[in-house]
């Protein structure tokens, strides 16, 4: 992918460094200023797209950016400053009401309670029963920034674990990566779903349309995954992802079937119903639970990681439902006004 358009002073300065080799002095000054002025990092487009650019250097990189910049100390310094504030905001925003003992059963039980399905209308039920074609397309665009590299942020944790938790994470990730069959990688199944709706499945193709909150979800995973200090958080995050997947994915599949999409298009969702019923047990017990038992000092971060996942999922769902209820697109206005995406006629959400 190419470096996406910037969204403010910080990302513009970062783009100059990445594309033209500018010295990052000005960037670090701008980051410092932004972190004083910005109250809510999760909702800040300029900060989140900057963090996305900085993290992407460690994943697939950008076609128009020198790979050597991945380890540029000044860029890492800018990233670290943003990360410190993001972590601080997440730690103060999440609510952890569970206080289990560091045993496999107690930790897995606490995580299952934190992620228990709730009754009443929710985001996945809206998708199952009411979402229209354009809303399904928007859902896929939001999801694509993670799902087209599904599992990658958690894979960073593998060399940071030992014994049972490591074997558990590898077991889950093998399934995520298709057990040796590239066409069954979950990212490949998601690409197939996107193509089923006529969407471009190149990684990052739609990133300019995605709001800060969507990028914040991915950036949080990248932050947890890339810091060994936060290995408890990435383990808890994965447990929460797996534990909130089977039932919502069944409902997503129902929504796509309701609008006539074929089994190849819904395979991604159908696969996750079964796969994540397995993964939630392994991630809850053998990854998070066994990690807490072996390293009780990580217990708080395991719960923090899970709670962060739930918070960002909730914020993203609120963003989408709120836009749709107002008959609006959940994608960025700036991009839509450039006419590069299909927009639906103004209408009303019949909820």
């Amino acid at each position: 992918m190419h470096l996406p358009p910037s969204r403010g002073a910080v990302s513009a300065a970062l783009a100059s460094c990445l594309l033209h080799g500018d010295e990052p002095d000005a960037l670090n000054d701008l980051v410092e200023a932004a972190l004083v002025l910005v109250d809510d990092l999760i909702a800040d487009d300029d900060i989140q797209i900057s963090l996305f650019m900085l993290y992407e250097l460690h994943y697939g990189g950008f076609d128009d950016v020198d790979d050597a910049l991945e380890w540029n100390p000044d860029l890492l310094r800018a990233r670290a400053r943003i990360e410190a504030r993001l972590e601080e905001q997440l730690r103060s925003a999440v609510s952890v009401t569970e206080h289990p003992l560091p045993t496999v059963d107690a930790v897995a039980g606490a995580l299952f309670r934190m992620t228990a399905p709730t009754a009443g209308p929710g985001f996945s039920r809206h998708v199952a029963k009411k979402a229209d074609e354009q809303q399904l397309r928007e859902l896929l665009l939001h999801r694509s920034i993670y799902q087209l590299k599904e599992a990658d942020p958690h894979t960073w944790a593998i060399p940071r674990l030992r014994g049972v938790p490591k074997a558990a994470l590898v077991e889950v990730q093998c399934d995520e990566y298709g057990n040796g069959r590239p066409e069954l990688m979950h990212s490949a199944l998601f690409a197939q779903t996107m193509r089923g709706l006529g969407l471009n499945d190149d990684y990052g193709h739609y990133v300019d349309q995605l709001p800060a909150v969507t990028l914040a979800s991915l950036n949080t995973m990248s932050m947890f995954g890339l810091h060994r200090r936060l290995r408890g958080a990435i383990a808890g995050h994965l447990a929460a992802i797996e534990m909130t997947s089977s039932i919502p994915n069944r409902l997503y599949g129902d929504g796509f079937r309701r609008l006539g999409h074929d089994s190849a298009t819904t395979l991604y969702f159908d696969e996750h119903v079964e796969a994540d019923a397995v993964h939630e047990q392994i991630a809850g017990r053998d990854l998070a639970g066994a990690l807490a038992a072996a390293s009780p000092e990580l217990l708080d971060d395991i719960l923090f990681g899970a709670a962060s996942c739930l918070l960002l999922d909730e914020l993203t769902a609120q963003h989408l439902l709120s836009a749709w209820r107002n008959g609006e697109s959940s994608l960025r206005q700036a991009e839509r006004s450039r006419g590069t995406t299909r927009t639906r006629a103004p209408g009303h959400y019949h909820g």
Binding site: A108, G109, F112, A168, E171, S246, I247, R250, D286
Partner: protein, 74 residues
């Protein structure tokens, strides 16, 4: 995922499915074998899965409870 030496490991998950990993086949009682789909599977224990024999997470909606803590082998 306790250390084990057998070919097949069966894990009754509290309030959830039975995990089975290792070398095994799922054979239909009256029909062909069931495609496992993945090396480790979760088999429905609550009886309410719509994808039997596999678990589909329905036990978490219904509040399924188990009390079958297995006795560890010596």
């Amino acid at each position: 995922m306790a250390e084990h030496t057998g070919d097949v490991e069966i894990v009754p998950c509290p309030d959830g499915p039975v995990l089975v990993r290792g070398s095994f086949a799922i054979v239909g009682a009256t029909g062909p074998s069931v495609d496992r789909g993945r090396p480790t599977v979760a088999l429905c224990r609550c009886g309410l899965s719509q994808r039997k024999p596999f678990c589909d997470g329905t036990h978490r909606i219904t509040g399924f409870r188990t009390d079958d803590e297995p006795t560890p082998l010596s």
